[in-house]
Every structure is written in structure tokens, then in C-alpha cells.
């Protein structure tokens, strides 16, 4: 009780001293305040980002754990994103076996097969799109026997309108050609191109068109389409997976447009982000971006260089819109724009100029123009280069370097909820596993059978790629043994190379009667209709697999359990955490944590030095007081406790205030939310706003740190104080 009273006195003296030296108290207190504030706020924010990001990463593609072949040359990176090349992974031959093995491990909830790669996709230029549509209509016309007269009439009208559009495009191209002749010398103009345009534009060509529409289309596709240079070569990254189990296991995935790919079918799902960002009509996309910047980030066209650039590009690149318009639509657009821009009606006015004027928006009229565009113009435009239902031709380099091409129908678009705007996670598209395997250079059962049949008919002998020269030119006596019949799926991890070497470039290309229009039509339909037996998806090759756990806290234990189980089942598996598989992104949070930690260490080091200094000053000022206390019977430890209490009181008081302020701010931020202003932030916040949770551990940590720092910083001054002798109480200052 009485030692409590002694504490009370030393605390009282400490408090009074704090009050008596306000400036010192505020400086020291301020630093501690800020330190505690930062500990609470910083940790809460970093933890919240960590949480939301881990939810993003785990819930979108990575899963809790990624498993791949331990003999792989490179490390798996699901969300690499930063490097262009894909990691060199060895395959896992039989997914069914892998899954069976993994499901034996405790806490494993589900296993999703995967393969991640990238490919070039030609988005198809405007002429391609227009010709494709015309082809569709003509195909319907070929089946005219089954149609009623009304349907036929409607179809004819559609065909006529579509032809008109194609001819309108040719007019635009003719204009381009004329402009080009003005700028460059005649020699630089490709004569063939001129001829193609002249022929395509000629009435004679169109008069003959209906005689053999499909062949005429073929001519336009092969010769005219390449002249319209607005086609984009897109590099897209995709995950080949079992889409059914993917959408079941990854709760973040939501279909936005269209449907998911039916089981057993080839199919492609675009990431909504990519679909918007890469495939949308560029003018529309820029309008969207300006709107988003204005609304989400409060930017203005006047002040933002980027937005100004968007407006400029929109005014300069109206051709993309022009190419989409047939004569009728051109007239409609002209009239609408003249009305909107309050110009006198003039049927001869250049629509390009009108569009440029329309797109030259400023902050005042942007919203109106934006609304007008989507209300009046967009319905007549093809907003996306690839429509849901189109067949996408994906060309990819197989593992060994061959170009492989596969046709997959686009079933729809999807997004990972919370990551809609993030290029980092939203950059992955989804594809069925069978198409993926083909693109990656693995044979499907179907294809192997086909090759076998071809080979049988041509009487060729199986030659491995490595031995091709020897085989062909008969060099070397030690002729390697021919590889076994490739009809069965590859079983050995070391075998893929010679199978890949056998790869023929795509189902389509090797069809002998490629030139026939009927074959082209068939190959389009075939891609959509072909159904794979489910066990082909199951049994085949995968590159990696995502493992989802029922208890994420068991990740580390489960990782080693997986590797051990794999060994027991004859699989050499490497299990990595989602942080590792997310590559740089996964490490970012550790970086942020490191930076925060360094900041905290610096602040508290400064606090330590300053508190120490302030207490030393205070001690020197109070030598007489301390001497007096010693003279009247205070033991050294009383002096010690007095100083420590003083430091701890400052620490607790201001540390408490700082922690409280930090906690309040966290709560306020949680209520308001920090808006994500960029794709990267969107990813880290796992949504449009970050709503941090208060980290109670951080509050406790703040207190502990503050007390420890305060105590340590009072050691030296306390030592000085304890050396004060009672005699010093009697010395006069003068």
C-alpha cells in the first residue's frame, strides 16, 4: 500500500514536471503520438490490404496453394504479369491421379487443374468483322430451302445492307489511298493494293458477287481486309482450366456477359477488363476512361494531360467509327451530329470532320456528349471487335516453338469480383483445358487419332525431333530407337519434346481441302459443336493445379503434406503458397510491411533519442531537486522510478492518444473508404474502396513499443540522476 503511495508520489512529481515543461512535453509527446498513431494506422492499413489482397489472389486464380511439377526449370508464377515470358514448367501427366493424391491430404477442399500461357490474337479489323457478318448472312442464304418467303425477304434486305456497308468501307479505303498518293511518291504505293481496291470498288465485282458469294467473300477477306490496318494484334494471357470446377472453387469469378462454357465444349471467356480495355471500340473506350477519371478521381480534361490526350486521339482517330458505317448510317450520323452540334443540315458535310468536332469535348459538355454517344450513336456501332458467340482464332507458340492455332468460340465475359478494374488480376482470360493443351503442344485424344490416321494413309514413320536429321539424311550408325506409337497420351515427364515435335500446326490448317468454302464453314461450326468426354479433361496433362483449403491457417503444414503425399504416390510435386505463386504481387505486401517497419523503427529511434535528450536536460535542471530528495531520505531507486515513471507517463499518455487517434482514423476510413485511384490500388484494395479493419494487435503493439522505448530512453538520464549526491542539494547556484 505504501509503496503504491510512493509510486503515486513519483507519478505525481512526474506529472507535475510534465505540466511544468510543456514545450518539452509536447515535442516528446508529439513524436510518441505520431509513432503510436503510425503503428496503429499503418499496421491496420497494411493488414487490411494484405487481407483483401490475399482474398483477391486466393479467390481469383491462385487458390491457397499452387502445385506443380518439382522438376520444372522455373518457378510457377500465376500472376507474374511483370515479365512477358511464361515460366518453363514441366507437365503433370495425369490430372486425375494428381487430384486423387491431393485429396488424400487433410484440409484440401478442392483441386482445380490449370495451365497458364499467353498467345497472340488478331482481334479482326473492321472489314473482317463486316465480311464475317456478310458471310454469316450468305451462309443462311445457302440454307434457303428451309426458309419461308418472309424470312428470305428479310435476309435479302440484310444482305443488301451489309454489302452496302462493305462498299462504304471500300469508299473510305479509296479515300485513304488518294490521301496516300498525295503524301508519298507513286513508287511507294503498292500497285497490287491499288488494283485490289479498284477491283473491289468496281460495280462489275459487285454485280458478279451473288454468283458465288462465298468465293467473292474469300477474295475480299484475303486481299482487301489486310489493307485496313486497324486490326490489333493482342497478346492475351489465359488460364486453361476445367471451367466448371474453376467457377465452383473460385467464388470471386462471376460471368458478366453471355454464359459459361458448357461442360465438354471448347470455349473462351474473356476477362471483362480485357474485353473492355482491348476489344472495345477505341473511341468509346476513351470516353469511358475520361468519364471514370472525372467521376472516380475528380480529374478534369483541362488539367489532366492524359485526358487531354484521350480527347485528342478521339478527334484524330475517327476512321475506326467511319469504317463501321454504311451509307444509310453515315447519313443518319451526319444528321444527328449536325443537330447535336447545332450546325445547319448539310448532306455533303464530311462526317469525319463532324465526328472530330463532336469528340473534341471539354469539361463543360463532356457528360452531354457522352450520353449522346451512347444514346444516339452507339446502338448503330459495333462496340466490340469480338462479339459473344464469335469464334476466336488463337495462335500460340507451343512449348517447342511451333505455332499452333485453335478456334474457340467466345461464350462470354467474366470478372473477378472486387478486381473488375485491375489489370493485374483482370488480365487473365479463361479457356477450356483441351484447347489449352493443344495450344501448348499437347495432343488431345482426338488429334492423336487423326494424326495416326493421316500417318497411316501417308505411310510415314515416326521420327523424333532430335533425331530428325539423322533419320532423314541417314547419318550416324547408332540410330536411336524409334519412339513408340504416339496414340496413347504421354506418360513420362521427360517425353513431351518428341511429341511436341510431331505437332502439326492446328487442326484447321492441315485439312487438305482448306480452300473450299464449305470446309471453312464446317471448321467454324465444328469448333463450337465438338464435345469432349469429361474424362479427357480429367485424365490429361496439366501444368499446375490450384489447391483450395478448408482451413487457410494450415497452409504451411498442408504444403509439406502435399509434397510428401506426392512422393508416396510417385509424383514429384512442388507446393508453393499463394504469395509465391502471385509472384511480385505477392511479395509487394512484404515490401510494404518492410517500409512500414523501417518507418516505425526510424520514428521510435528518433523518439528514443529525443526523449533521452529531454530527460537528460530535465535531470540536469533538477540536480538540486534530486539532491534534496536524496538528502531527505529518498533511495536511488525512488529517483529511478520517478524518472522512469515520467518517461512512461509521457509514453502512455501520448502513445495512448496517438493509438486512439490512429484507431479513430481507421474507423473513419473504414466508414468512408479509401477510393482506389488506379488499377494497382484496385487490386490491392480488392475492390473500389479500401475499408480497413482496426488491428487490435497493432494497438497492443503500439502500447508495448511505446513503453519499451520510453523505459529504454530513461535509462541514461536515470543513471545520471542516480549519481546526484545529496550534497548537491546544498550547493548554491550562484
Amino acid at each position: 500500500m505504501s509503496s503504491l503511495d510512493t509510486m503515486r508520489v513519483s507519478a505525481q512529481i512526474a506529472f507535475r514536471n510534465l505540466g511544468a515543461h510543456r514545450l518539452k512535453t509536447f515535442i516528446v509527446g508529439g513524436i510518441i503520438f505520431f509513432g503510436a498513431f503510425l503503428v496503429v494506422l499503418g499496421n491496420s492499413l497494411v493488414d487490411s490490404i494484405d487481407n483483401s489482397m490475399s482474398r483477391s489472389v486466393i479467390g481469383s486464380v491462385a487458390g491457397n496453394i499452387q502445385v506443380y511439377n518439382a522438376t520444372s526449370k522455373d518457378k510457377l508464377a500465376v500472376m507474374g504479369g511483370m515479365t512477358m515470358g511464361d515460366p518453363d514448367l514441366a507437365q503433370i501427366d495425369d490430372f486425375a491421379k494428381l487430384r486423387a493424391s491431393l485429396l488424400k491430404v487433410p484440409h484440401v477442399k478442392s483441386v482445380v487443374p490449370m495451365g497458364i500461357s499467353g498467345a497472340l490474337v488478331t482481334s479482326g479489323n473492321t472489314i473482317d468483322v463486316a465480311l464475317e457478318r456478310l458471310r454469316g448472312l450468305e451462309n443462311k442464304m445457302l440454307e434457303r430451302d428451309h426458309k419461308s418467303p418472309e424470312e428470305l425477304q428479310k435476309l435479302r434486305a440484310q444482305i443488301a445492307a451489309q454489302k452496302d456497308h462493305v462498299r462504304q468501307i471500300i469508299v473510305v479505303l479509296q479515300g485513304d489511298m488518294k490521301n496516300m498518293k498525295n503524301i508519298v511518291e507513286d513508287a511507294a504505293v503498292n500497285k497490287e493494293d491499288v488494283e485490289v481496291i479498284q477491283k473491289s470498288a468496281s460495280d462489275a465485282f459487285w454485280a458478279d458477287f451473288d454468283k458465288d458469294p462465298l468465293n467473292s467473300l474469300e477474295y475480299l477477306e484475303n486481299h482487301l481486309a489486310p489493307l485496313a490496318v486497324d486490326a490489333d494484334l493482342l497478346f492475351i494471357r489465359y488460364v486453361g482450366t476445367d471451367l466448371g470446377s474453376f467457377s465452383k472453387s473460385f467464388d470471386r469469378m462471376k460471368i458478366v456477359d453471355g454464359t459459361t462454357v458448357p461442360p465438354g465444349k471448347r470455349g473462351f471467356l474473356f476477362s471483362k477488363f480485357i474485353y473492355e480495355d482491348q476489344l472495345k471500340l477505341k473511341a468509346a473506350r476513351r470516353l469511358d476512361k475520361i468519364k471514370e477519371a472525372k467521376e472516380m478521381r475528380g480529374e478534369t480534361i483541362a488539367k489532366s494531360e492524359e485526358l487531354t490526350r484521350f480527347v485528342r486521339e478521339n478527334t484524330q482517330q475517327v476512321r475506326e467509327v467511319l469504317l463501321q458505317l454504311d451509307a444509310l448510317k453515315t447519313a443518319t450520323f451526319r444528321a444527328k451530329l449536325q443537330k447535336e452540334l447545332a450546325l445547319p443540315p448539310d448532306a455533303k458535310a464530311d462526317l469525319g470532320v463532324l465526328l472530330a468536332t463532336f469528340f473534341a469535348t471539354d469539361d463543360a459538355n463532356f457528360q452531354q456528349r457522352y450520353d449522346f454517344f451512347y444514346r444516339e450513336l452507339a446502338p448503330d456501332l459495333e462496340l466490340y471487335r469480338v462479339r459473344i458467340g464469335d469464334v476466336l482464332t488463337i495462335k500460340a507458340f507451343t512449348k517447342s516453338g511451333y505455332v499452333q492455332s485453335v478456334n474457340v468460340p467466345v461464350y462470354g465475359t467474366f470478372q473477378f469480383e472486387g478486381l473488375e478494374k485491375s489489370a493485374l488480376a483482370g488480365g487473365l482470360n479463361l479457356m477450356d483445358l483441351v484447347s489449352f493443351r493443344e495450344l501448348y503442344g499437347f495432343m488431345s485424344d482426338e488429334k492423336l487419332a487423326e494424326i495416326k490416321a493421316l500417318r497411316a494413309s501417308a505411310h510415314t514413320k515416326e521420327v523424333s525431333r532430335e533425331n530428325a536429321e539423322a533419320e532423314l539424311f541417314g547419318a550416324g550408325a547408332e540410330e536411336p530407337a524409334p519412339t513408340p506409337e504416339p496414340a496413347a497420351p504421354v506418360k513420362s515427364a521427360k517425353a513431351p519434346r518428341h511429341i511436341v515435335a510431331d505437332a502439326t500446326p492446328g487442326v484447321n490448317a492441315e485439312m487438305p481441302d482448306i480452300s473450299s468454302p464449305l470446309a471453312a464453314k464446317l471448321r467454324r461450326d465444328e469448333a463450337k459443336s465438338r464435345v469432349f468426354p469429361p474424362d479427357e479433361v480429367e485424365r490429361g496433362v496439366v501444368l499446375n493445379a490450384a489447391v483450395l483449403l478448408d482451413d487457410p491457417t494450415q497452409m504451411k503444414a498442408t504444403m509439406s503434406a502435399i509434397e510428401n503425399q506426392g512422393k508416396a504416390d510417385g509424383l514429384e510435386l512442388k507446393a508453393i503458397s499463394w504469395q509465391e505463386s502471385a509472384g511480385l504481387i505477392g511479395n509487394f505486401i512484404n515490401l510494404a510491411r518492410g517500409v512500414l517497419m523501417v518507418a516505425i523503427i526510424i520514428i521510435f529511434t528518433v523518439a528514443l533519442v529525443i526523449i533521452n535528450n529531454a530527460l537528460v536536460m530535465a535531470t540536469l535542471e533538477r540536480v538540486r531537486e534530486i539532491g534534496t530528495l536524496r538528502a531527505i531520505g529518498a533511495q536511488k531507486r525512488f529517483i529511478l522510478s520517478m524518472l522512469v515513471v515520467e518517461a512512461v507517463v509521457i509514453g502512455l499518455l501520448f502513445g495512448g492518444l496517438g493509438a486512439a487517434a490512429g484507431a479513430v482514423l481507421v474507423k473513419v476510413i473504414a466508414a468512408v473508404g479509401i477510393p482506389a485511384k488506379s488499377d494497382v490500388q484496385f487490386f490491392f484494395f480488392s475492390g473500389p474502396r479500401l475499408r480497413p479493419d482496426l488491428n487490435l494487435i497493432a494497438v497492443v503493439a503500439a502500447f508495448i513499443i511505446v513503453i519499451v522505448v520510453a523505459t529504454i530512453s530513461s535509462f541514461y538520464p536515470a543513471w545520471l540522476a542516480m549519481r546526484v549526491t545529496p550534497r548537491q542539494a546544498m550547493q548554491e547556484e550562484e
Binding site: S2, S3, D5, T6, V9, Q12, I13, R16, N17, G19, A20, R624, E625, G627, T628, L629, R630, A631, I632, G633, A634, Q635, K636, F638, T725, P726, R727, A729, M730, E732, E733
Partner: protein
């Protein structure tokens, strides 16, 4: 009479750099219980050094100092502190109150350090002493709100609150005007009579010496002798009201 302080051949040398400065050159004297004694001598005569030895804030270089029967040279740092806490009260020339504490808290402080006295008892004692020094109404004031004389009275109360056998006062009136100084000496004298507390105070003021019932004269660190004061301890004619 029993000697509460017994000094035998006390020598005290201070070392300043490499020079040894002798402050006391062998002093022998006794102070009895109930004495009201003045140590007199010019500056540098060793008054303060002697007081420090008696007050257990210092130990002699040679010779012995016994306070309340204990040889201070044989006590540890903690033992000396305990002896000061329980046996000795200090009154300083500059009062040396803890500026951030109230009058009440200043007086209570030694009792708190003793740790054995309950809150109720502390309060009773502190208030009784403040009553006695005439500052009952100033209990909640801060030292900075008091005059010099009032502060010294607070210091006296603080020195007496533990009921020490011995009170040491180093030039207690040096920072006070003469009237106030006289009042302080009157108060000390009265407490000496009523409580039986032994007082030893240093001074170089003749007038102050006249209050003592004996004067111990020092010069150049040597004890010149003990002079009993005529009319020993009787206060000279009092002038003015308490400061």
C-alpha cells in the same frame, strides 16, 4: 546528557583535480540531545563540511562521526540514506522545496518515503505541523506562491514531520531578510523547546548565533571551541510579526 552526535578527529579532504583540499583538519566535538547549537565561522571555515558529515551526506576521510550511535563510515549508501530518512531533518539555505508539489505534498514527502505511515496518520501530522508553522491555510499552495519566509517554514515542517532526533540547518536565514530570519529562528527555538528536537544550524551572522545555547566555532577547518551563549537560547527582543 546523551550525545546524539559524536565527532572524533574528523578529517575531510576534497580532491579537486590533482590538488587535495583539506576542508576539515581533525575536529572532535559532541552534540547532546536537545541542544540548539550554532556552528559559526567565516566562509571556507568548514561549516558546511562539518554539517555534511553530521548530516550523513558525506563520510569523513579519517576519524569517526557517530550519529544516533551509528558510525557513519561503516554504513552503506543505503544505510546512510535510511539514517537520514529516519533520524535527521534538513533545512536548506534555499529552502529546496519540490516546486511541482503543493505545500502539503512537500511536507508529506518524507513520510511517504518512510513507507510505514498510513494516509490518515500522515495527514494528521502534516496538518498539525502546518498549523504550528502558521501555514495551515496554505496547504494547497505551490511553493512559488509563497514568500521566502513562508517557504522556509514549509521546509521546517518538512524537516520535522518525521519527528527526527536531529535537525540540521545550513544557513537557514541567509536568504531571508532579518525580520523574517528572526521569526524562523523563533520558530526553530520553540520547536526545540516543545518537541525536544536537537537543532544544529550553521551561520556567520552574530545575531543568529545569539539564538543558540552554544556556538561551535570553526576556522580553517579547525574546531576552535564551544562557547556557551549568555542568556543561552533566550530569544533576543522580538520585533515584528511572523513573516
Amino acid at each position: 546528557m546523551k550525545a546524539i552526535v559524536s565527532v572524533k578527529d574528523a578529517v575531510k579532504n576534497y580532491t579537486l583535480g590533482k590538488v587535495v583540499v583539506p576542508a576539515l583538519r581533525g575536529v572532535t566535538l559532541d552534540v547532546n540531545q536537545g541542544d540548539f547549537i550554532s556552528i559559526a565561522g567565516p566562509s571556507g571555515s568548514g561549516k558546511t563540511t562539518l554539517l555534511n558529515l553530521i548530516g550523513c551526506v558525506d563520510t569523513p576521510t579519517s576519524g569517526t562521526v557517530e550519529v544516533a550511535g551509528k558510525n557513519t563510515s561503516q554504513l552503506s549508501e543505503r544505510g546512510l540514506t535510511d539514517l537520514r530518512l529516519h533520524t535527521i531533518g534538513f533545512i536548506f539555505q534555499s529552502f529546496n522545496l519540490v516546486s511541482v508539489l503543493t505545500v502539503f505534498q512537500n511536507v508529506e514527502l518524507p513520510l511517504l518515503l518512510q513507507k510505514s505511515i498510513g494516509a490518515q496518520e500522515r495527514r494528521t501530522r502534516v496538518l498539525a505541523l502546518l498549523e504550528k508553522v502558521g501555514l495551515r491555510d496554505h496547504a494547497q499552495h505551490r511553493p512559488s506562491e509563497l514568500s521566502g519566509g513562508q517557504r522556509q517554514r514549509v521546509a521546517i515542517a518538512r524537516a520535522l514531520v518525521t519527528r527526527p532526533q536531529l535537525v540540521l540547518a545550513d544557513e537557514p536565514t541567509a536568504n531571508l531578510d532579518s525580520v523574517t530570519g528572526q521569526n524562523i529562528l523563533d520558530l526553530m527555538r520553540e520547536l526545540n523547546r516543545t518537541e525536544g528536537t536537537t537543532f544544529i544550524f550553521s551561520t556567520h551572522d552574530q545575531k543568529v548565533m545569539s539564538y543558540a545555547n552554544a556556538v561551535l566555532k570553526l576556522e580553517d577547518g579547525k574546531f576552535l571551541g564551544r562557547e556557551s551563549v549568555q542568556n543561552g537560547g533566550a530569544a533576543p527582543a522580538r520585533t515584528g510579526a511572523p513573516a
